[in-house]
Amino acid sequence: MKLLRTWVFYISLLTGAHSVSGQEVAVADSLQTVVLDSLDIKQKTPISLRFGADLYRIIRSRASDDYQGFEAVADLRIRENLFLAAEVGNEEITKQFEQVNFTTKGTYYKVGFDLNMYDNWEGMDNHVILGLRLASSSHSQFLNSYTLLDRAPFWQDPETEITSGFASGERLNLNAYWLEIITGFKVQLLNNIYLGLSLRLNRLISDTVPDNFDNIHIPGFNKKTEENKFGASFNYTLTYRIPFQFKK
């Protein structure tokens, strides 16, 4: 039964909005009637804690030599459709970005809330999420190597990599703050186990620019583009809800 509902959830996400919208309105109407009729249930909204990890970062750490990362996620249900949510992560990534090769190391914290927009059928607990996070990272940038821009190379091959000297080395004690707008969903796989995917649009608020370099990559924020302050990221989480629930 659970599996069937899971599939219904998936299919309703994937099928075109217009073809099924009629049925959904009908379902939603009937659901609303149920909810309105059972006010006493609504008042007993349980507070429950759910925690887990991002699978994508675990898999990527295994698959790539240039990446080590882990992200723990947790949320706390405070209303029927409202969750306090947080992510804590640690990342070390080595990147060749055009003419520079660098290693970014650091930890990040994200705190905010998730709003469940999905009208569940009786007994279901799936989520279509809109969320917001305030995030910060503290990190370091290590410049491994780079090439020098030379418009008219004369003495040396312009691809000559500079690995030591004036600019290379580590920049410590860097910070960044940003906001994330989240869309995503969580599917209840088993009774207390959820699989979730979230896409995040990041808007940088501020960052300490490293001396004679830039935060091309920020842990948790991902790539910082120079022209605008937007970034994007995602996670793919497996979470476990602690069966114990507080009654309000």
Binding site: A17, H18, S21, E24, V25, A28, F97, E98, Q99, V100, M117, D119, V128, L130, Y146, T147, L148, L149, D150, R151, A152, F154, W155, Q156, T160, I162, G165, F166, A167, I181, T183, L199, L201, N212, F213, D214, I216, K223, T225, E226, E227, F230, G231, A232
Partner: protein
Amino acid sequence: MNTLKNKLLFAFVCFGIFAGCEKDDICLSTVVGTPDLVILLLDKDTGTRQSPSGFSIRPIGTEKELVRSTGDSLALPLQITEAITQFEFILNGGSENENIDTLQINYQRQDQFINGACGFRANFVLDQTPVFILNSGDNWIKGAVILKDTISDETAAHLGILH
């Protein structure tokens, strides 16, 4: 539900746009690269710009020739992997009284970050004694004066060569 789906679709499209378009991956051709050392040939008495007859410059350590090796204002490329670059300053080239002075330019390199796509450009700071004249004897070059000790662009001359 319908509007929610539209919102979600909108969000996914936005995500695609922001994740996909990365225009600063390209280093624009207007960005200035590593500058050359710009020298002026100055008269040792009057300090006025003056190009002597039959004058040219030949870099030492390469078969290549400078794009422009004559005139009173010249851009000399500096070696990035060394803190010195040597040039032959030739007077009356090709004639009987040809006079070649070998000059060594002394400097420190300081690399300056431009952006991720362009990487770095090299800047140079001339040493306190920017020029050594390596050959002894009848030197037609009498000395050098620093006009601007930091070489970060080619808009102004950095070194005056007195003759």
